[in-house]
Symmetry: C2
Subunit: 436 residues, 2 copies
């Protein structure tokens, strides 16, 4: 029948097929993850969790202008040099300066202006006396600064509490380096610098194609012999979660001509075509029949054995089996890491874990069992990736190895990786798990 | 001046103000996080990372109908009971059954049908013989099953390789419990069960209101005395990242009447109003002036000291300071955990870390310094939350304590929590950090 390969061989072949998503010769650098196309997205758009393709450079200095670090009084330092608590210096207050548009009037020597945090420091002033080092000023009328004065109880050096332009960020500074996975505080920094659009790594556009005449969409009532299309919504979600974009969704019947036409359309529109179903050893395997130029093989794994890879019209194509559990496992094992890398995202690391259950496994086939984190006993213990610092987390098997068990997939946190050579694992065995 | 409180007091007061978002008496249970309103979202919509408000229950059994677990031949078990490799039983093949709509014809006793994985098992058949335990059948003509036969080399018990309806999921089973944070494999399980819409915890709708006549939007060229509005985009991003929804964005000038009108509108439209700016000790503090019914106070922290909390027209309101770093720190310390809890999301845990730098801090004020993870030296070491198993991660201080340092916020991974009582911390001190 078809070629048999192990999981690592198929992973390597998929990685080679999709190498163009992750790096392009001559374009990659430490600063620019991969050589992926770039797209500009408004700062207010859907940017969280996405990755900067280019450095964000401050177009202007920050602060933009000389401004006050405190609520207080802007003065000439020389005018208050002699001030002390027991010998305050009193200055006339010429007015108020708030944080507002416009340039304030220059400060006349021997005078002060009341100034608010962030407000521009008038020309002629070279220090700000914080309000708590003054008598807060004496004003005629409520809030009006006319015909008023302030007593300053402490001298200030030139420049004190004055923020100079560019003292936070000089114009041209790299505020956020390429490769940054964007969080709200990065948005804050970009917005403060007046950056309106971000250059993000463009997602890989994936066509998600379900095949099978028996499939119906979730809003329809299935008749005899019909089942719901789980892989359409599920692989679309998986693509999005891995930083990809669903460029097209198709559900095609078991008709090789229709499948061929649909896949050619998908290949013309998207960067990658992902099919489910029609790849095993039965008499009617429509994806196999429609794609003579694609390699179909049996990968020594359970679930997810039947796999295909190749190109249609120059566009890479991966063919996953149709069972929803097999398709999800295939995505995690063969594609998730590549899509994440293409998006500039870090890998979801496989982690060591201690198995709480006995496992029996067929020789020669790597099993990916659905598992869940187990809350360890004892003080300070917790579940989840990593668990308590200094311990290896425990996992339990959910459900059986049957690839049709949707129920166990629903309850799973991880895939437990049982090596091909293992036929039995005892409770307490150390295994590697793939977080879902 | 205004009331002075410590950070924990203000956290407690904010939590009390916003308690309605997290639980409603009589509505909360272990299965239903909080008593938040529920919204129905199509399975193909934006569901990843959101939280189920209600259990997903299988409306029908899975599998929906009796189907084949293998590619092979559907038979009556009794007809092949005597089969053995050296004494195969040969049966006429009455046809093919593929995974396709419709009910297959019943199986006549003494015959077989070729059947594909997932295809409906005909009435009268009670076992499937996998293709590898047969001679694969002998067919007249390519693929046609007419006038053909199969030799079966191994007997099968009743029910072998036949999936009974409901054997994976019985109708009425809880497939995904309320509280599940949705990942692609959950979407797969729901889709397989034919669930078209999910009942999700409705996000808290937040009005993000920037104040200050000096602010301009990111697409405009600022004039003298003008600065970019960082808090609008940045707090909107923070709200979304914490599972909230931005219901309204406003930027209001330093005019108490305009601010009052804007905030009343925001309060009428949203679950929570979040303002920035206009809350400190200066002469022009527009949020303070516009909201006599709100409590303004000085929280003993740096940055982020001036804070307000109260209600406008019955809607909760939090007032953060206007400096972008102060506003982001305020969000993390006072609001992030509550919005996450309201959305059903787990908290972002504060974690212990070892400080690599010396820190000087004002007595009586809790400092939240921007910090970054430090890659520890030595084999197996890695940076990031948790770091290598068995070690406490190290953090370094980024930039200075000045609340205006946008540059250091951009480079930060965490906030380093320096207790109010500490005036100096030496390198090697154990601290608590808030991951950003």
């Amino acid at each position: 029948m078809s070629e048999r390969v192990d999981v690592e061989q198929h992973r390597a072949d998929v990685a080679e097929l999709l190498a163009g998503f992750v790096e392009r010769p001559g374009e990659q650098s430490a600063e620019r993850p991969g050589g992926r196309p770039v797209e500009e997205v408004p700062l207010d758009g859907d940017v969280l969790g996405r990755v900067l393709a280019r450095d964000v450079v401050a177009p202007e200095p920050l602060p933009r202008f000389r401004n006050s670090q405190m609520d207080g009084f802007a003065v000439r330092a020389a005018d208050v040099a002699a001030a002390a608590p027991d010998a305050p210096v009193t200055l006339p207050v010429a007015g108020d300066v708030a944080a507002a548009p416009g340039d304030p009037a220059p400060l006349a020597p021997g005078t002060a202006v009341r100034i608010m945090t962030g407000a521009p420091v008038p020309a002629g002033a070279d220090a700000v006396v914080p309000v708590e080092d003054t008598d807060q000023g004496t004003f005629n009328g409520s809030g009006a600064a006319t015909a008023s004065r302030v007593a300053v109880a402490r001298g200030r050096a030139v420049g004190e509490f004055v923020r100079e332009p560019g003292s936070d960020v000089a114009a041209g500074t790299v505020v956020l380096p390429a490769g940054t996975v964007l969080a709200p505080h990065h948005v804050a920094a970009a917005a403060a610098c007046g950056v309106a659009r971000l250059a993000l790594v463009a997602p890989v556009s994936v066509a998600v194609v379900s095949t099978g005449s028996e499939l119906v969409g979730p809003d329809r009532e299935p008749g005899p012999g019909q089942i719901f299309d789980a892989n359409g919504p599920a692989l679309a979600a998986a693509v999005r979660a891995a930083g990809g974009r669903v460029g097209l969704r198709l559900a095609l019947p078991d008709d090789p001509a229709a499948v061929r036409a649909g896949l050619e359309r998908a290949a013309a529109l998207c960067d990658l075509v992902l099919t489910t179903g029609g790849v095993s050893q039965g008499a009617y395997e429509v994806v196999k029949d429609a794609l003579p130029e694609v390699t179909f093989r049996s990968v020594a794994m359970q679930p997810g054995g039947p796999q295909g890879l190749g190109r249609v019209g120059g566009t890479p194509l991966l063919a996953f089996p149709g069972n929803p559990v097999s398709a999800q496992v295939s995505f995690v094992v063969f594609l998730r890491e590549i899509l994440r890398a293409a998006a500039g995202l870090p890998p979801v690391d496989r982690v060591p874990a201690v198995l709480d259950d006995a496992v029996v496994s067929p020789a020669g086939r790597r099993q990916l069992l659905r598992g869940r984190w187990v809350r360890a006993a004892g003080p300070g213990a917790s579940a989840g990736t990593g668990g308590p610092v200094g311990t290896v987390p425990h996992v339990a098997v959910v459900g059986g190895p049957g690839s049709h068990l949707v129920a166990s997939m629903a309850a799973a946190d991880v895939l437990i990786d049982v090596p091909a050579a293992a036929t039995t694992l005892e409770p307490g065995a150390e295994v590697v798990v793939w977080p879902l």
